[in-house]
Symmetry: C2
Subunit: 692 residues, 2 copies
């Protein structure tokens, strides 16, 4: 447990310095200024005191029972200091200094050395090369961090490897007057990991929402497991950067090659139920709403405004995000028609007019909070000089305190003039945003989390009829022959073992046998060249479609034999499928994460439009259904232009079988089922490739 | 000219009030507080003075030569007051009061009445139902407006009908410490229009960038013309709200039915070269950059940072927007390797490290400003307590003053602690943004404007061989017969008159003539039912494709005759086109704006993916080319999956011909060429519909 790290009673600083611009001085200043409730022990062999606090010559001289030691000393001294801490019984060490694995092999060796000491003594290490932690809990007030933002107590916790972005987020909350709970930026994360921190925050009662920023993941599987566990009970809001090739390169340059252009992180967010953001501003604003508001029961929002345009912007953004703006109930309409000015617009949005009073706002708020048509309330509030805006703020604050439904407020004012109005709303914890779009996106994020909570549960359905042993045998055959690309009979054998619908096939050694085989399986037939030496059989003229009789098969095989001149050539004869809706299915190994299964419409949809969806294994039927419904061309599955739809549940079944195949046989690196043909009553694989 | 409105020397207020919360008092207070350089004449029959300024009983009693009169009186008194102003020789009237056309027919009548008076006397009217204007020019300082933001002088001018959103934008600039030049929110815009205001700002030397917000346009053609003229010399940044069905509904409710869900506004922005935004925050941030920075010569950006993650976010956003991050030139690399810390990352982004000094930043800035690899510089600047951030700010400010290339700064700091650093950058006018994404989007907007300036010029190429007279004859025939849907011979006759490639056709009265006609034009043939009484001929079984001989045509015509039982039935026989790439072309009338021409790939691309592009008439070849290249499936035009590409210039030619047809014959309401088949060497219309 990380309790002693985040709730320390005794904090020592090895490398405590008298120089004001030294981190070893700043950490002590920060602890003092933030009102740390415990004791501080500066460790310095020469100084008697640091910032007025008595210093100790060595950690050995300091009192016992130290929870956290900061190390602000050159890297090479850290292993010895760790040993000293171990002997002293220190529980946690935060290493602010750099010079470890982030700098190369030499630093990595030092990191390994101190880690060995730490493990020996059961010390947990935070960092190295990190900012540290902050806990704003009024009973603790631990500012074990050298950066400079002094947060108010709040309900948002921030965790990230990268101190730069975490600090930007932290500052943004501070600038908005929104508090935070725990801040943890753990740099190289050599011992205490992000997954461990997320689990801790998941159980930390003061944390209502977790915000994280990642560029790459050291332990993707661990991150997935931790997020899955925690996201089910507490919203996790995350942003991944290094999305573009250029961004990934930039990320690699400052994290020492950790980041790469990947899709896996998004798939982890999706699978775990983490709310993912592409814009740090949007993430920050959403967190402010999550910290204060209940999660809406649905996506229906009521808008109250005292100015036209901003309500239009809010409406646009929420509608585009899939939220709805239902009409007022009859009762609400009646009440508002009685209460508001005659010129007010009694509809959704309700426009109380710029002259609208506190009583008007209150009537709207009460009505919408009671009205079963709405799951949340969006307030535009501009502050005209001719109305009593403080009273309006007090009514909003009062209704907000009841926490019946989520409420976000687009407060449009000059904060320097309307200080009291701003204060009333801030003190009440009403999430206020200067721009209508910001408030609308925050409300949309709340609804998005509701949709995650409500989504069909990802229950894995094991494929009962899979013959794993047979598939394994075929894999082993290829492996022992030193082939990474499987031969056709191995590929289709494995697919059959996993219950895929595969057209009848035969393998033949020569044109005559091919002809005979075709006669057995029926026409039209497909003839494919199959040989370890031929990698791209289509390009080499090794695929002939539409062979309508035995003679045609013989002729095609002879021609292939002549043209390809491959000594290891065999003929793969297959019954040709009738034309169907072209799909692709596939999977590729994701480092440390199993596989990513891909589904899409084939042909131009994949080649030109890249209209595909990925999901990490194991893929549940619910997840497969979401893959199907979320491609852009989803309507084609249901049939367009007078065509009948295809058997979607059979596609779902194929996706789940593919996922099971890869879970059972993780040594497979890549599977390509392309094309797969979907029909009204079946889904069959027309061509396939498996790579070890 | 609106000079006397925006640079008034004498301002009177009819309806000047002693009551502090009255607009007639507030306007006077605002003029005084803002330091208006001219004279103020409160008009009030009872009061001797208002806010210490001597009042006049009536406008007639006030001194002559009044530039601007505010009217803050009930609507019904306005026509008489306007007459009084006319007699007095007043140049402009700002009507802040409401109660006019926005409230219904009664108010509209009053509006008409005072407008008649105004026209009689040559008075220009601003409003009614509006906030008014502000001019921050230190020589003028006219705050003829009742809202409460007191802007610094600056280079951004804001113009909008909707005061609500204009004020939000205005406040945001103020909160960022960014000045504005002219603010104009003209409510009902009964006389002085948005296009007129945009033209004025186009010539106003203190305005470097124009920001506008629209929900709907009263005079779209006028807006297009004004924007086209002004955007060529000055950036116009615009946002349109009411984009969603719900948003349009909300907009209509507060503007009195003016707004509707439209695509025309976007097309106007596109055609005029207006930089369009979907997010008011992004618009605001871009304006800040445009106000201070030169337009980049290209899209190549250099990044300087002292912290990792924020540079990754910036990189991601700029790369996704099509900007590039080229490597440093050899010279830059050499200089920086000599100057920066050994651990610094000398690449693009350059990471000077958190310990990087002012000298380091300066070296990077100078090098990138000189380096021909870069068109602009993006700076991430976090303020660690252990470096002299004021000096860094001074170097950034100094280089920024040289205005060699655009520079944007992501300043990540606690503004309450680092006040001097913030002040240095603000005083130098460096565009600073708290979040890396904000700064990156601002830089991307600068580049987007460069791309607009550089785009191929939209020179209209008249179709020389068009036979407008013949087309007009055919239209008149339909019109005089009372048909709005044209018959097939009219449709194809018009298309031929405009030089479209149309397969050979004949019109036949009975099956025997149809058979004969088919023999003349050749096979395979298509037979289509043609009758005023049949609207959806395909659905009614009125289209038969693939008729391979004369007998088949006869049989099909007989069957059609029997099944359709339309007394006015005629047979349209057409040579069938071979299969080609399916396209759609079309056009529909846009109120007050000519037509919107549409182009897209046919079939599922239009039906499922809505992959189409619109352009307002007249469409130039350059615009048509942009339509072709900007559809998602554009690669299909060049050929995919081994297919050859199609004749793109012939498609461009067809788009231009269609545009010309509609410019020449604006009475056409809708044209549908669907499908059109594109081949390697031609583009031919397979089916068409024209609606009057």
């Amino acid at each position: 447990m990380l309790d002693s790290l985040f709730n320390p009673k005794k904090v020592a600083v090895i490398g405590a310095s008298s120089k004001e611009l030294h981190i070893g001085n700043r950490v002590i200043k920060n602890l003092i200024d933030f009102g740390f409730k415990g004791e501080i022990y500066p460790i310095n062999p020469k100084a008697d005191e640091i910032r007025g606090i008595a210093a100790f010559k060595s950690i050995a001289d300091a009192p016992d029972g130290i929870d956290v030691v900061h190390m602000v000393i050159p890297a090479k001294f850290v292993p010895q200091a760790m040993e000293d801490c171990g002997k002293k019984g220190v529980k946690n060490v935060i290493i602010n200094s750099g010079g470890f694995s982030e700098t190369g092999p030499e630093g990595a060796a030092i990191e390994e050395a101190f880690l060995e000491q730490a493990k020996k003594y059961g010390i947990r290490v935070f960092g190295p090369n990190c900012q540290g932690i902050i806990n704003t809990d009024p009973k603790v007030r631990a500012y074990c961090n050298f950066t400079f933002t002094f947060p108010d107590p709040g309900a948002i916790s921030i965790v990230a490897l990268s101190g730069g972005v975490a600090e930007v987020i932290h500052q943004a909350f501070s600038a908005m007057g929104v508090g935070t709970r725990i801040y943890a930026s753990n740099g190289n994360a050599c011992d205490i990991t992000i997954p461990e921190l997320i689990r801790y925050l998941g159980d930390e009662p003061g944390t209502h929402v977790i915000v994280t920023y990642v560029e790459g993941l050291k332990d993707p599987a661990g991150f997935l497991a931790a997020c899955t566990e925690v996201a089910a009970k507490k919203p996790i809001l995350a942003m991944k950067a290094g999305r573009t090739k250029e961004g990934a390169k930039a990320a690699a340059s400052h994290t020492g090659g950790l980041a790469k252009e990947d899709i896996a992180t998004d798939l982890i967010f999706e699978k775990a139920g983490v709310l993912s953001f592409r814009d740090e501003g949007e993430l920050i604003q959403a967190a402010v709403a999550f910290a204060a508001e209940p999660i809406p029961r649905g996506n229906r929002v009521g808008i109250i405004t005292n100015t036209g345009g901003p309500a239009v912007i809010g409406t646009d953004i929420m509608a585009a995000a899939g939220l709805t703006l239902p009409p007022l109930s009859g009762k609400t309409e009646r009440v508002l028609k009685e209460t508001l000015f005659a010129e007010a617009s009694v509809a959704n949005p309700v426009d109380v007019l710029a002259t609208g009073t506190a009583e008007h706002y209150r009537a709207c708020l009460d009505a919408m909070m009671e009205d079963d048509n709405f799951d949340g309330v969006f307030v535009n509030f501009v502050t005209p000089f001719f109305v009593d805006t403080d009273s309006i703020a007090r009514e909003i604050a009062e209704v907000h305190r009841q926490k019946k439904k989520p409420l976000v407020c687009n407060l449009m004012t000059d904060r320097r003039q309307w200080t009291e109005t701003v204060r009333i709303l801030a003190d009440a914890g009403v999430p206020c945003f200067a721009l209508p779009g910001e408030a609308a996106r925050a409300m949309s994020a709340l609804v998005r989390y509701r949709q995650i909570l409500d989504r069909e549960k990802a229950e894995i359905k094991p494929v009962a009829d899979a013959d794993t042993d047979k598939a394994l045998q075929l894999l082993d055959r290829a492996k022992s022959a030193g082939r990474s690309m499987l031969l056709a009979d191995e590929v289709y054998g494995i697919l059959e073992a996993y219950g895929f619908d595969v057209p009848k096939w035969r393998l033949a050694e020569d044109p005559a046998s091919a002809q005979k085989a075709a006669g057995e399986i029926g026409f039209p037939a497909v003839l494919k060249a199959d040989a370890p030496s031929i990698v791209h059989k289509s390009d080499a003229g090794g695929v002939v479609l539409g062979l309508s009789d035995a003679a045609a098969v013989f002729k095609a095989a002879e021609k292939m034999q002549k043209n390809l001149s491959a000594p290891d050539l065999r003929f793969f004869v297959q019954r040709q499928l009738p034309p169907g809706l072209e799909l692709i299915l596939g999977a590729r190994a994701e480092q440390g994460l199993g596989h990513a299964v891909v589904f899409g419409l084939g042909g131009i949809f994949v080649e030109v439009l890249k209209d595909v969806r990925f999901c990490l294994t194991p893929v549940s039927p619910a997840e497969a259904r979401r893959m199907l419904s979320s491609i852009k061309g989803a309507a084609l599955l249901d049939g367009v232009r007078g065509q009948k739809g295809v058997d979607k549940e059979s596609i779902v079944d194929a996706v789940v079988r593919l996922s099971q195949l890869l879970s059972d046989l993780p040594q497979i690196k890549e599977v390509d089922l392309n094309p797969v043909f979907a029909f009204q009553d079946r889904v069959a694989v027309a061509d396939a490739r498996i790579l070890l």
